[in-house]
């Protein structure tokens, strides 16, 4: 079995700061990480490989420094890493990104064997769009299973997979055919950190690096900024709220003082809360 996992190297958004005067992003010193949701996808892929045999290839598109994230994925146990990097990919929106990634997945299939499953995380923590997984699926003509909480069954002989997919109010149990694309929800199982053998192998492993041309991109105008139908016209800081919070002094009965202040601000609140508390 061959599984391809698409990952993204993202800035650790918890550590991003905005310059207080210029309202620009201060990138210096912000560490990069593998998008946390992609780790759930990687874990799901590795678990399937361990059970059914085969190989896991990790793929990312990004600047040359994104190779760091691929090496990390190798230390976690991935078998092979492919970096898609080219100046022509710069500035891609989700549509252009899916064009490049789908091309690379096709090339991976031609070079290392056709994938049975392509995995991605449910979304990234920097873009948050959840659009790239479905886009890759559509480009490759794969069936898509998004927001998958659990892979319940995989039958390689029958080329069939059964999953539990998150939807409003519950889980949809779906069955579809391989090959397919799966985007993983946060998993309940722990993400492995790899063995010493994995770490040694990763240290020696070569990250396969492809330019647009080598990856087989046919139409460069579909990549990067040129291939992006959306354009960012304006970036700005959210306007600050005019007034700061009215601070209640924490005296002898701070809870009552706080409640009094709430009810003073919103006179209807007391009766609304009473109705809710009675279960209406």
């Amino acid at each position: 079995m061959h599984i391809v996992v698409c990952i993204k190297q993202v800035p650790d958004s918890a550590q991003i700061r905005v310059h207080p005067v210029t309202n620009t992003i201060m990138r210096q010193g912000v560490p990069t990480i593998i998008n946390p949701y992609d780790l759930f996808a990687l874990e799901a892929a590795l678990a399937l490989r361990d059970k059914f045999g085969g190989e896991v290839t990790v793929l990312t598109m990004g600047p040359p420094s994104a190779a760091d994230s691929l090496r990390k994925a190798l230390t976690f146990g991935a078998d092979r890493a492919v970096l898609l990097t080219d100046r022509f990919f710069a500035g891609a929106d989700t549509l252009a990104t899916t064009y490049a990634l789908a091309t690379a997945v096709r090339k991976i299939g031609d070079t290392f064997g056709a994938p049975d499953i392509v995995f991605t995380g449910k979304q990234t923590i920097d873009g948050d769009t959840a659009q790239v997984g479905p886009g890759i699926a559509k480009r490759l003509g794969l069936l898509q299973l998004t927001y998958v909480a659990r892979i319940a069954e995989l039958d390689l002989a029958a080329r069939s997979v059964k999953v539990e997919r998150r939807s409003e109010g519950g889980l949809q149990v779906l069955q579809t055919r391989l090959p397919c694309l799966i985007t993983m929800l946060e998993a309940t199982n722990e993400i492995r950190r790899g063995t010493m053998a994995d770490a040694l192998r990763a240290a020696r492993a070569e990250v396969v690096t492809w330019s647009a041309q080598v990856a087989g991109v046919e139409d460069i105008s579909k990549c990067g900024l040129r291939g992006s139908p959306t354009i960012v016209k304006r970036v700005f800081a959210p306007s600050p709220r005019a007034e700061k919070a009215a601070l209640v002094e924490a005296g002898d009965a701070p809870a009552d003082a706080l409640i009094n202040e709430m009810f003073r601000r919103q006179p209807k609140l007391e009766s609304e809360l009473a109705a809710l508390a009675r279960g209406y």
């Binding site: 601070l247 706080l258 809360l273």
Partner: protein, 373 residues
């Protein structure tokens, strides 16, 4: 691999920078695209409220463009789908496109993508809005890629500018900045919006308007994916964070996972939902369906109580629509006091039990009778 969103595009060479998308004149074949559409999302017979929230936003866009607002209703034949279309008129739709087929009983990407793509290609909307739900995002990504058009995710503001283009504003960099995104040379212009980001418009009882039925054009054998069953959430009746009237949430200031119980107790006394900030999910103290903020849920309650939450911009984005924000934090310089309405500088671990007792005493029917008499 950046997203609309474009994280690091600045060093692209001049050639790659010549954006086709910035050309001013719309290509000839897109000139027939008119009207604003809202995808009405229904699952298991229920319309997701985000559809009506979008109808409110869509109405304003349509009025500004002086075009019709249409609903797109996709679902099984029968009462639920007809009812969804009828409701769409009550929330401001001028007409409704309906694809009704029993193959659409359960959401399946293949069938819904075909249905929506076909209707778009036939009737050509200029703007197409969907809810940023699990269903909406699954569908929007497929449809936009099939149509090779732009899709802007999780917008917080929608407007049309002077030349009639959709200006879609969304948070970027974890909510620390906003960006306005355009899809100039492609149609339709597509956007998703999370539940509770737009205000719910008033419902007006109105007779059903013009309905245009469109065939699905598939048979079951065409659809590979099968829905085997549905496992409802155990507490699905209670898990209603986005639409709760009162929400109590905790953050790292609670110190330990055991102390999160204090948040749940106060929520219970108030008949409220409980939530948390992102770090608690990352630490595994609380499950992610309770996360409030840019990567979690957007809430719009009448009352929001934040206990031990510092109020990073990520969190702020998710709670700004609350009528009354109350913050409890030991650090008087915590950013949450910048956007809360009422604050108290104290340790939430000590205040929460007292607050729970005080509310219990005030809100009991007995004390209400006393106040009334």
């Amino acid at each position: 691999m950046s997203e609309p969103n474009k994280s690091e595009p600045t060093k692209a060479p001049a050639a790659a920078n010549s954006r086709a998308a910035t050309k001013k004149e719309l290509p000839e074949h897109f000139k027939g695209y008119k009207h604003v559409w809202v995808f009405v999302e229904q699952e298991r017979g229920h319309v997701h409220p985000v559809s009506w929230e979008l109808m409110g936003a869509g109405r304003k866009l349509a009025d500004k463009l002086k075009v019709d607002l249409a609903a797109v209703v996709i679902g099984p034949t029968g009462a639920a789908t007809e009812q969804a279309a009828a409701e769409a008129f009550c929330y401001g739709a001028d007409l409704a496109y309906v694809v009704a087929d029993d193959l659409l009983t359960h959401y399946r990407n293949e069938a819904y993508t075909k249905a929506l793509t076909d209707v778009v290609n036939t009737y050509k909307p200029e703007i197409l809005l969907l809810g940023a739900t699990t269903l909406g995002r699954d569908l929007a990504g497929s449809v936009a890629t099939t149509l090779l058009t732009g899709l802007t995710a999780d917008c917080t503001e929608l407007d049309v500018d002077a030349d009639g283009s959709l200006a879609a504003t969304r948070p970027t960099f974890g909510g620390s900045l906003l960006c306005t995104i355009y899809t100039l040379n492609y149609r339709p212009q597509m956007a998703t919006v999370r539940p509770r980001v737009m205000a719910m418009p008033d419902r007006e009882a109105r007779p059903a308007g013009r309905i245009i039925n469109h065939p699905l054009g598939l048979i079951e054998d065409d659809i590979v994916t099968k829905v085997l069953s549905f496992l409802p959430d155990r507490d699905s009746a209670k898990s209603n964070l986005a639409y709760a009237d009162v929400v109590v949430a905790g953050g790292l200031g609670l110190g330990s996972p055991e102390n999160f119980q204090l948040v749940r107790q106060l929520a219970s006394v108030l008949g409220a939902e409980f939530g948390c900030s992102r770090p608690l999910v990352q630490k595994g103290w609380v499950t992610s369906d309770r996360q409030i903020g840019q990567t979690g849920k957007t809430i719009r309650p009448k009352l929001y109580i934040a206990a031990g939450i510092s109020g990073a911009i990520q969190h702020r984005v998710g709670v700004e629509g609350a009528d009354l924000i109350v913050a409890i934090n030991t650090d008087k310089n915590a950013p949450i006091f910048e956007f809360a309405h009422v604050g108290i500088v104290t340790d939430a671990i000590r205040l929460l039990p007292a607050l729970t007792e005080a509310f219990r005493a005030r809100l009991s029917p007995h004390s209400r009778d006393r106040i009334a008499s």
